[in-house]
């Protein structure tokens, strides 16, 4: 359905991602708590795209399922080094940098659906969905 693309190249882009995601979730009629959860997950994933994926972009889509329920899907795509061990990366507290290792696992908890595809040397694609 509706489709929008945002670049993630600088720290300011992360702020813009938060703003755009907040606006779209509000427009879709998500409650305040869900808006906050989705925006927080987007912030985590956008920062990973910038820090580990060496920049990339976000695709924002609005969805509607068979029952007429609406949703939002956010897909973060980079052409960075990829993730060697996805299960390890998804472990609470695992970081290869200076983080707290909560971004990926936390985003998974905050959203309804979470998929991650990564290939070493090719890049990473993380897609999260939340239904109303």
């Amino acid at each position: 359905m509706n489709h929008e693309e945002l670049q993630i190249r600088t720290q300011s882009d992360i702020v813009l991602v938060r703003k755009a995601v907040r606006e779209l979730t509000a427009k879709l009629g998500f409650g305040l708590t869900d808006q906050t959860k989705i925006t927080t997950a987007a912030s985590e994933l956008a920062r990973n795209t910038l820090e580990y994926g060496l920049g990339g972009h976000l695709e924002m889509e609005t969805l509607k399922n068979d029952l007429g329920k609406s949703g939002i899907r956010l897909t973060f795509i980079d052409q960075g080094p990829g993730i060697a061990d996805i299960a390890l990366a998804l472990t609470d507290g695992f970081t290869s940098g200076k983080g707290m290792g909560m971004g990926l696992s936390g985003s998974k908890r905050l959203m309804n659906e979470f998929t991650i595809d990564s290939e070493m040397g090719k890049g990473t694609r993380v897609s999260v969905t939340k239904w109303k």
Partner: protein, 133 residues
Amino acid sequence: MERIPILKMGSFLLVTIQVDMHDQLAMNLQEDLTNRISATGARAVLIDISALDIVDSFIGRMLAGIAGMAKILDAKTVVVGMQPAVAITLVELGLSLDGIHTALNVDRGMALLRNSLELSDDEDLGAELANES
């Protein structure tokens, strides 16, 4: 460089975060606060985040960093005004904000600090503010 203002009120420092901070701005704040605590001998730091509509792991780490740094400099940190939706999200994200004191609003945060620092009335915020101006 862009900076978040730090207000000195008596023996407290007060920071009101009013913008959606990019990461560097958050790092600058941590550094500025550390310098101000050591320059002023402030006993406590109040950080008002009521205008923040999200706290992610980066901001969480910054708040914990400030609290840790302040503790080394013998100052207490209280984070005030966290929105309920932000608090719920933080728990689900998995951040515990260990070691950070929180209060509902600035007034309660002040009361908490006065109690724990055992400040007498003449060290009270209002009095000192008047003295300084």
